[in-house]
C-alpha cells in the first residue's frame, strides 16, 4: 500500500527540531517507510536529523509518500499533526 499527499507546514517556526521530533514519535508504532520531500530535498521521516535538513519554512508544502501495511494510518496521523501545527501556538 502506498499513500501520497501534500502537507503544508502551518506552524510559525517551520520544520524545526521539536516538530521533527513529534513526527518521528508519531510514526513509531506504524510499519511503513515514510518520506517527505521539499524542493529538491527528500527526508526519511523517521529521522529527526533528516527532517530538519529539509529546511522547510512556515507555509511550505511538503510531498508525503508512505509505503507499507500501515501507510493509511501513518498518513492520517501525519496529516493531523501538520494540521495541529505540531501542537504549537
Amino acid at each position: 500500500m502506498t499513500v501520497e499527499k501534500q502537507l503544508t507546514v502551518q506552524n510559525r517556526a517551520g520544520m524545526h527540531l521539536r516538530a521533527a521530533s513529534k513526527i518521528v514519535s508519531a510514526l513509531r508504532d506504524f510499519k511503513c517507510d515514510v518520506e517527505l520531500t521539499y524542493e529538491h530535498r527528500t527526508a526519511n521521516a523517521r529521522s529527526i536529523m533528516s527532517l530538519t535538513q529539509l529546511i522547510a519554512p512556515p507555509g511550505s508544502v511538503l510531498f508525503l509518500r508512505v509505503k507499507g501495511p500501515d501507510a493509511v494510518r501513518a498518513a492520517l496521523a501525519l496529516e493531523k499533526l501538520f494540521q495541529d501545527r505540531f501542537g504549537e501556538e
Binding site: S21, S25, H40, R41, N44, S47, M49, Q53
Partner: protein
C-alpha cells in the same frame, strides 16, 4: 540498552542533556553526566567516570561521549576503553544526542557507536554548499 555517559569540560555535558530533553520532550533520555574542570585531580575525575559507567551499564555496554579528542575528559575516558564493553566517541554534539534518543533501542554498542559517529559528522554542514546541491537528507 547501551548505557551513555557524557564527559565534558565545564557545564557542557549537563547543558547538552538539558537541551536534548527540551527537543525530544516526552521521549526518555537516560544519560549520565560527568562535568570536568581542568583544576580537578585526575584521580577524582577518573573515579567519577568509573561511578557513572557503573550506573549506566545494564549489561549491554557503555558509550562515553567526550567533547574534544585530546582534552582531559577524553584522555581520562580513554583509560576505560574495553572491547565490546566500553567505547568512546569524541566531539559530541547536539545532533548525536537527539539521534541517540530515537536510535538506542535494540542496538549493540558497536552499531550505536558507528551510527552516532556518522550522525555527528553528517550534521556539520556548510549551508551554502548544502542548499546548492540536490540532496537526499
Amino acid at each position: 540498552m547501551v548505557g551513555i555517559v557524557i564527559v565534558a569540560h565545564g557545564g557542557l555535558s549537563d547543558e547538552l542533556i538539558r537541551t536534548t530533553s527540551l527537543i525530544v520532550e516526552d521521549e526518555m533520555i537516560s544519560v549520565h553526566s560527568v562535568p570536568v574542570t581542568d583544576l580537578e585531580d585526575p584521580d577524582d575525575i577518573k573515579r567519577r567516570i568509573h561511578t557513572a559507567i557503573k550506573q549506566a551499564d545494564d549489561g549491554d555496554g557503555v558509550l562515553i561521549f567526550t567533547d574534544m579528542f585530546g582534552g582531559t575528559p577524553s584522555n581520562i575516558a580513554l583509560s576505560f576503553l574495553q572491547e565490546d564493553r566500553v567505547d568512546v566517541i569524541s566531539g559530541v554534539n547536539l545532533p548525536m544526542l537527539v539521534d541517540l534518543v530515537y536510535s538506542r533501542e535494540g542496538k549493540t554498542l558497536a552499531e550505536l557507536a558507528a551510527q552516532l559517529t556518522e550522525t555527528g559528522k553528517n550534521n556539520i554542514l556548510l549551508a551554502s554548499q548544502y542548499l546548492r546541491g540536490n540532496q537526499r537528507t
